[in-house]
């Protein structure tokens, strides 16, 4: 036995919901005696689900970035903003610090999520023991920062609610913001369905 025994090798299962350590009775309908949740050694169909959600998120990510997220109308002057043009505007209008924050939350974080999750999925399938600690750390990072991408969605919503001076000045949300909100939700679901235990499993064992 290795110095760090794993639950699977000891015939144990840590409940994914409440953490209770249970005996693995080897049945598929086993439930946690403490919280009643189904007991699995690994998240169900983790690789397939994560791929599906990640690809769906990426498909929505394209219109989220290409389509404008917000329209500013002032005295008949119409101006459509994408995520990137919003960042540039912040930078030019003298708030480079906020521009960096928005750029990170809206562009860097989603890109990082796509790259990291795809890397984790590919390496988990091949069962490599390459950079296991770093991969584990990247996964935790992605889980921790993922929801900050919702930042721009809230900015557009607030500006829409505030800037309603009729023909003088008005802000309207455009479809890009809907796609962006959905992308964030899907990437969050994708990272939740990935099972970080697979990083350490060696061979793929997807049950």
């Amino acid at each position: 036995m290795s110095a760090l025994p794993r639950a699977r090798d000891l015939g144990l299962i840590g409940c994914h919901v409440c953490g209770l350590v249970c005996r693995d009775v080897g049945r598929h309908d086993a439930a946690c005696p403490r919280c009643g949740s189904a007991l699995h050694r690994r998240k169900t169909a983790s690789l397939a689900r994560t791929w599906a959600l990640l690809i769906a998120a990426f498909i929505l990510y394209l219109p989220a970035n290409l389509l404008p997220i917000m329209r500013t109308v002032s005295l008949g002057d119409v101006d459509d903003n994408t995520i990137l043009s919003g960042v540039i505007e912040l930078w030019v209008k003298g708030s480079p610090d906020l521009a960096v924050i928005v750029f990170t939350a809206s562009i860097v974080v989603p890109m990082l999520k796509f790259l990291v999750l795809a890397t984790l999925l590919l390496s988990a399938r091949s069962g490599t023991d390459w950079a296991q600690r770093q991969r584990a750390r990247l996964y935790r990072l992605v889980e921790f920062i993922g929801y900050w991408s919702m930042l721009d969605v809230f900015v557009v919503a607030l500006l829409t609610a505030l800037v309603r001076f009729n023909f003088l000045s008005r802000v309207e949300p455009l479809p890009g913001v809907v796609f962006f909100g959905l992308t964030v939700v899907l990437t969050m679901l994708a990272s939740m369905s990935f099972d970080p235990r697979l990083i350490w499993d060696g061979r793929t064992n997807d049950d």
Binding site: L4, P5, G14, L90, T160, L168
Partner: protein, 220 residues
């Protein structure tokens, strides 16, 4: 670091008492013997470095006080306007719900629902459930509906985004400042306070709350 459970009997089933003395890293499946943590101590997994358990700085009473404070601040944050814009003599202000309603009317129902869920229903639900569980735990009892409440808390946890909204409000204020007179209202200060409380909250380990009150009858 917690001692690895290397001396475990390998094939024998652990007795119920030993069972609760074990801890499995949820990130890599490594099994540890649980040990008592000192003040402010954090047990990390030797294999993957994930946090296994934190010392609970707050007792039940202070956790409950924290939840009730957060609940009051949350109500203030929702009742008072967040920001007021002025253009000439015209003034427009909005609350969180004002924002949710406007997004619905502007053909962005998805955003409206996302905002209502992540900024209102989930945070409120989280505080109410925690408050309910802790209120009963104070007198050493298991709250009615303890198990579903704890399971719901587990699922709601990642979907509360009040702190993102605070940063969003800041960005919106800065953007609007170029064209309008901007006044930050009590709502946004309440939100900032809530953000602080949420940071304290994150020290509460849900899994340890399971051990708060004794289970009714023998465990199955």
């Amino acid at each position: 670091m917690t001692t690895p459970a290397s001396s475990l009997p390998s094939r024998r089933a652990p007795s119920p008492a030993a069972r609760s003395a074990l801890l499995v890293c949820e990130h890599c499946d490594t099994v540890y013997r649980r040990r008592t943590l000192g003040y402010g101590e954090v047990a990390r997994c030797a294999r993957c470095q994930a946090v296994l358990e934190r010392h609970q700085v707050f007792g039940v009473d202070s956790m409950l006080a924290l939840v009730l404070t957060a609940l009051i601040v949350f109500l203030i944050a929702n009742v008072w306007p967040v920001v007021t814009l002025g253009l000439g003599a015209q003034q427009i202000s909005t609350t969180l719900w004002g924002m949710i309603v406007v997004m619905w009317q502007q053909q962005s129902q998805v955003v409206s629902v996302l905002a209502a869920a992540t900024l209102f229903f989930f945070p409120l639900g989280k505080m109410l459930l925690l408050g309910w569980v802790l209120w009963h735990a104070r007198s050493g009892r298991r709250a009615p509906g303890f198990t579903p409440a704890m399971v719901a808390l587990h699922y709601v946890q990642p979907w509360t985004m009040s702190e993102v909204f605070v940063l969003g409000a800041l960005v919106a204020i800065v953007k609007a400042h170029n064209y309008f007179d901007v006044v930050a209202n009590p709502g946004i200060y309440a939100y900032a306070g809530l953000m602080l409380l949420i940071t304290l909250f994150s020290g509460i380990d849900l899994r340890q709350l399971w051990d708060l009150a004794p289970e009714p009858g023998p465990a199955a």
